[in-house]
Homo-oligomer: 448 residues x 2
């Protein structure tokens, strides 16, 4: 998305700076004695880790949030999640709309039909829309969650927990306060609770689908064929991924984690673990006991991630679709990428391949560094942790708290880069556009 | 490489069929009692596995070659390696030259400078060149290796071993007969033998660099600037990968496998394990004891692989370079891929991204299937084994012989597809070229 907008360099820089500032303020607040239950200072690196994880809505934790942090600390974390999640969604959406508006104007004369259907009436209105929408969704969910929590908690705690988990789920943060029952247990306690599962999964999905898609659905209701191409692709891919992954998860865990539970719980858990790894990061089964196949499936889902302009991370569903379309187009000897009766601009392949190349290379470099620093860690755990960090997912096979300071720093950088978008970071660094007026002669090489 | 040549469908089909026939004949011969030391029939699936591994020059084994197979069986394996390796190189080279010739004619009028400099005087001459070149290299190496082996073996055995390992190394097959000393030991016995290391590494490198590059070097000697772009990229990338990987391997194993050995052996081993995973598949240190970081490094090298038109597998160095160039071009907001003062055709990005997407997806599907079939296997071992098979490398962390029939079948298919080229296989299946005369309207989507 960022690559085609030349004028946005300073915009990207401002975003990076804003995130950095918020993280620094968060780190300061979280390191104070008032933020911890014990009343002691929290080490800088751990406060930085937690603040980055919250602001980048990752959800990886070096401490159990409930047991280490005081209510004040928990509120700071919640604030960072809301600012980070909502802020990112607003910045990303405005970015995308500005981009789309320019496209619309350029092509309006040529193809009326494919002109962008969004016309923004200004930044303020847009921001208001997103904020109001977010608060409505979060509010309703918070009330339902509070009622569920009220079964086991007093009224004030259940309200706080309702709000906390509602925001955390909507922003795809994956932070939880379930340490009051069991350390690092996430939502495993509620694996059989239908309402809880539905509410959390709905929040994750709405938050992860992105504002641009909401608006399109809101505008055209159930009339699929009037949707923008982007919306169509996002909806179909999301549905496809959820269906395939939940069936696959069920098959991979049938003789393991799903062995001795009711059919209802099997279905809920499979659905949960098909949706949650694509950025949310909650879990209702014990992640450390996942079968090797499910670990791999989870890693794949973490890499694919959610949708552009949402609270989600990963390479994004559209990038995934473009890569598949480019294979189909190659196999058919076609020069075009066609989908839903529309053609994608050819240039998008370069962007998709750049996104995936940068994404995977950064992850691989991080993995090699961590295994150099801590040779005692198991490879599959490192792969899982790294993709969880760069995809801002937050699931872990349990090695987070055993990371050394240097490894933690690598994970912090990955969370930050994963959030800001590997490309934006590179873009902010690379200053000068090289205008090659004299083109070099073409020469062929052989690949594949 | 295959995607841009429309008329080659039947050619690809013939190649697939030829390979399949050779494998079937090999399977039949290897399953006979005369092929085994025990004088008993070898199970079909294991004979098929061995024949595929030999013909596709992979080197994964379900039996220790020396201890299970009789001399007749070993000669069959050697024959399959030579036919598979040489045959593939000849087919690939002719394919590439036909492609390049057409390019040359098309562009000669436009850009004299970038016209391809290879003019083939006919298929027969070319084939003769490759065969003669191969036999000269293999012959010289066989003599040197025989002299080394003669220290520990009688004269006939050392000659046979010299020939066997020379062919196996040149074809990047990775099969060995070192089971006479220690089962599945590969070349670990010679980790400190400088001559042995140099001979094997030279064979691997020459075999893996491809005929097109040899010819270019032969023609222009040391004058780098007269080389074709393809040659320049291949040489620089190969050098870069060897340097970086050997330093990294040294760092990752300094406190593990390389701890208590001489400096000379440290250097030799690091060099060996930087070169061998890019398709050769021999090892001079115990692969099962690699540190987690080295396993990852080895996997990365296995995926990158060797060069187009050589005996090597993987996505190929040029694909790797194109992916990196596309990132550089994206970051610079450039619409071009420039390298060594030349511009690459834009279309190559689609081919590169298709190659890597098909490659990684097939590997991931295979991994999930194997972990469904054998949930007891460790994820990193499965990842290692699958990439070893599809990249026709042949290194293993030791799980090959514990694979079930179904898993073996998956590995067999991977070895076959990895060799034929995932794309060629798909191409042979996809019959009809879709000529979209009416173009659909363009619509933008957002990625990344
Ligand atoms: K998350
Ligand atoms: K090999």
């Amino acid at each position: 998305m960022l690559l085609s907008t030349r004028g946005n360099m300073s915009y990207a820089k401002i975003s990076v700076l804003a995130f950095f500032t918020i993280i620094m303020i968060g780190t300061f607040l979280l390191s104070l004695p008032i933020s911890s239950k014990s009343g002691e200072f929290t080490p800088f690196i751990d406060a930085l880790f937690t603040a980055t994880s919250a602001t980048c809505v990752t959800g990886l934790v070096v401490y159990d949030t409930y047991n280490h942090f005081s209510v004040f600390g928990q509120i700071v974390i919640l604030g960072l999640i809301q600012i980070g999640g909502l802020g990112f969604m607003i910045i990303a959406t405005m970015f995308l709309l500005a981009l789309r508006k320019r496209i619309g104007i350029k092509e309006r004369g040529l193809l009326k039909d494919s002109v962008n259907s969004i016309h923004i009436g200004g930044v303020v209105r847009l921001t208001k829309h997103i904020i109001v929408g977010t608060f409505i969704f979060e509010g309703i969910a918070a009330i339902i969650l509070a009622i569920i929590f009220n079964r086991e908690m007093e009224i004030s705690a259940s309200i706080f927990n309702g709000i906390f988990h509602s925001i955390s789920a909507f922003c795809n943060a994956g932070f939880d306060l379930m340490g009051r029952f069991n350390e690092y247990s996430s939502l495993t306690r509620y694996s059989n609770d239908t309402v809880m599962n539905i509410v959390i999964l709905t929040l994750i999905t709405i938050g992860g689908i992105g504002f641009i898609v909401w608006e399109d659905i809101y505008r055209h209701r159930h009339k699929f064929k009037y949707y923008q191409l982007h919306t169509k692709i996002v909806l179909c891919t999301t549905l496809f991924l959820i269906l395939c992954s939940s069936i696959l998860f069920y098959m991979l865990e049938a003789n393991n984690l799903l062995e001795n539970i009711s059919v209802k719980e099997k279905i809920l858990s499979s659905l949960f673990h098909a949706i949650s790894p694509r950025t949310a990061g909650f879990n209702t089964v014990d992640t450390t006991s996942l079968s090797e196949g499910s670990k791999l499936l989870t890693i794949i889902l973490m890499v694919i991630g959610g949708n552009s302009g949402s609270t989600a991370g990963g390479i994004k569903t559209t990038t995934f679709v473009v890569l598949i379309l480019s294979v189909i187009s190659s196999v058919r000897y076609s020069d075009e990428l066609n989908i839903f009766g529309r053609r994608l601009e050819y240039n998008i392949i370069k962007r998709a391949s750049s996104v995936i190349t940068i994404y995977i290379s950064s992850a691989l470099v991080a993995m090699i560094l961590i295994s150099l620093i801590q040779p005692e860690l198991v490879l599959s755990d490192i792969i899982f942790e790294v993709f969880s960090a760069i995809g801002t997912v937050g699931l872990s096979t349990g090695i987070t708290s055993s990371l050394t300071t240097l490894s933690k720093l690598i994970i912090i950088i990955l969370m930050f880069c994963g959030r800001i978008g590997s490309l934006a970071v590179v873009m902010a660094v690379a200053h000068n556009k090289k205008n090659t007026l004299v083109k070099s002669p073409i020469e062929k090489i052989i690949i594949g």
